[in-house]
Point group: C2
Chain length 417, copies 2
């Protein structure tokens, strides 16, 4: 199996001013191609140390990919050091320079004398066009090995690397298929228990991950493409037969996206009333393109007076049950549904902290209410963590409860139970 | 100057399933202590390769820090490989085991036989307590060099490393002082031009960074603590004399935090009316602890009907000027201020895309309105980017405009101009 390694170049990485996300992105793309990555390294803008690291990498790996150090300043030395390590000559490329002038024209800026450095190419290399910046990349083959130099900014490096993937296919020993199943309403331990017999093999592999308020199951198979794909599909089917009722989506799905699809499919509109989440639920719902097709609007009823005056929660209900209670959550859900003339109302009231809370209702207590064609529902949950964690998890619980509510309506309307 | 390097251990990092943020965090803490980090590396759960990387690191650096590979499973080999490389013996620690049993008790779980592996210590090492997980860390000194092993999860590794910093002080050659100034309402080019004479030195150093909708100026000085601190203070004073009117905060400040301080100091309350930002502005405002002291609430008026029925924007104004217009933004700001009985109303209406827009008002057009004791203000901006970028930048512009508005009120009330 072919091996690759990724070298990040830049003193700012060693000072901790920016995290190295390129190595992860590049490695994921290589893994999908069936190319093993055995090492990542980071080195500063220092010719001697970079030369050492490059020499070591070329001795032990088939493919060496660098990121960073292709800019116009004196600190940017990657191309120069690579040329020296492989014994290549740097020559000025008028074509590359013309392309860079075009780019500068497009962004209404003028090149400096320094930029000419970026038009130098290593003899025998293929320059890689950069659509989002001035630094072209480098692709060179030497003695059966491949060296790729990419710029540092991820939004430049990753699109350039993706364009090069076909050139790496000859190193591929198969293909990796991944499928992520996303679950809400069940804990990781229970998920693990349900599929423990599937998690012992390494290819295809099944693993569970926890994301705040969700459990993800990752299925991966590596090998001959058609076989790997069908192995993944068979395992997905098996997992669905055991845990299907908790699976809300796959891969890039989010609760807000899936909720939007259920609302659209059932011709329902939504309105939200939020207290402790402060607009986060409405914000997540409106992150989805096309949400204006089903989301009417929301009220952030942060102070008690708004809950009464705008959403019509009776003062005596607040006095009797407390502002953080399932009763108030239900009234809020009814109120916002009426005010916004929506089919479904979703309400959240809670104590996000750090101060606040009430007797028997510590900081982290959150009550959710739902009102709509499926009737009224409410529940109380307790979330541990700081203010931002409570907000985030409360929003997640609210969207998860809405998903369960809509799924039941959807099943009823389509005759499936 | 003492040198350090950071080695991350874990196949999941090489598969690109998670980015290595520990190396950046640890390096930043080391830089503050005046310890140079020359290399980061990542290696999989493979004893031979980890042994090579560790040997190389110990040969060239004074301090070697590993992250990952301290868990209870057979894949977790860091402690075992370190013991082998330095020729140390692994022995079972009853004290450590007792401490782990305590932790398990606290999280209501039972340890497995595997967990006993985590109670093994390298002879002569100091175990580092882990308050957020089961894996203890390792601190060893050998031949004047230090080896530190930390667990992989950042919320475990970073607090543990911070506790060890005093033990590394003898390697320190001085101290790094950093100060970040944060600006709103001015572009990076203009900032650079204003302070170009200050950016040419390397110690103290001055550099500019762009964060969406903000410009940051980083001042850093390294050396004898009192001298370094006063150098940073002098440069800050000089920059404030040139760019003070755009500086809204320093270091960990955010616009929402600074806006909250201005509201509190002037005894003013706030309400928001949001269309395209979908609750993001209210969400940011309520991220600040204590925001219930000045934030009354908000309306997410996503569909046109809500703008009319709840916030009282006259239908003919929407018809005449369009829903995304400075006129509608002003009516929304007035309406929400009245509805929530707040002193200041802030409104945002715009086209977040990907579809939508109107003649002369493409996707990305955003109108802001403000209403309060400083009178009415409105403006139109255009933001390029996808839906999430438009939402984020529109929220940033809204909070920035609110900051300018409140700053003027604050200056007027305190007699400063």
């Amino acid at each position: 199996m072919a091996t690759a390694e990724v070298i990040a170049v830049g003193t700012e990485l060693l000072l901790g001013e920016v995290a190295n996300t390129n190595a992860a992105e590049i490695s994921k793309l290589l893994a999908d191609l069936g190319i093993s990555v055995y090492f990542h390294s980071t080195v500063g803008d220092n010719a001697a140390r970079l030369s050492d690291v490059l020499g070591q990498a070329l001795a032990r790996s088939d493919i060496v990919i660098t990121t960073g150090g292709l800019g116009p300043t004196g600190d940017d030395i990657t191309k120069e050091v690579v040329a020296e390590v492989i014994g290549g000559k740097l020559i000025f490329s008028p074509e590359l320079w013309a392309r860079m002038l075009d780019y500068f024209h497009k962004i209404h800026r003028k090149p400096t004398e320094n930029n000419k450095k970026q038009a130098m190419v290593i003899e025998g290399s293929v320059p890689i066009t950069n659509e989002f910046g001035t630094a072209p990349g480098v692709f060179i083959e030497r003695n059966g090995k491949v060296i790729i130099c990419l710029p540092g900014p991820p939004h430049e490096a990753i699109p350039m690397f993706k364009k090069l993937l076909p050139r790496l296919e000859r190193f591929s020993s198969g293909q990796l298929f991944r499928r992520m199943l996303k679950l809400f309403g069940i804990g990781e331990a229970a998920v693990e228990q349900a599929i423990i017999d599937l998690t012992t093999r390494s290819n295809p592999s099944v693993a569970t991950y926890v994301s705040p308020g969700e459990v993800h199951i990752r299925i991966a198979a590596f090998g001959e493409p058609r076989l790997a794909e069908s192995e993944v599909a068979n395992i997905e089917k098996e997992i669905r037969s055991r845990l299907g009722k908790w699976i809300f989506g796959t891969d890039e799905d989010t609760l807000e996206k899936v909720v939007g699809e259920l609302l659209l499919r059932n011709g329902l509109s939504l309105a939200t009333a939020e207290s402790c989440t402060g607009g986060l639920v409405a914000n997540r719902i409106t992150d989805v393109p096309g949400s204006s097709g089903y989301f009417k609007g929301g009220i952030v009823a942060y102070q008690e007076a708004i809950k009464q005056s705008v959403l019509g929660v009776p003062e005596e209900i607040i006095r009797e049950y407390g502002v953080v209670s399932q009763e108030v959550a239900s009234f809020l859900a009814d109120g916002v549904r009426r005010l916004c003339r929506a089919d479904v109302g979703l309400a959240i009231t809670g104590y996000a902290g750090p101060s606040g809370g009430a007797p028997g209702k510590p900081v982290g207590t959150v009550c959710l209410g739902l009102s709509g064609p499926g009737g009224r529902q409410s529940k109380e949950v307790w979330i541990s963590g700081n203010r931002l964690t409570v907000k985030a998890r409360a929003a997640q619980e609210a969207l998860g409860s809405l998903w369960s509510y809509l799924k039941a309506l959807d099943a009823a309307s389509s005759g499936v139970l």
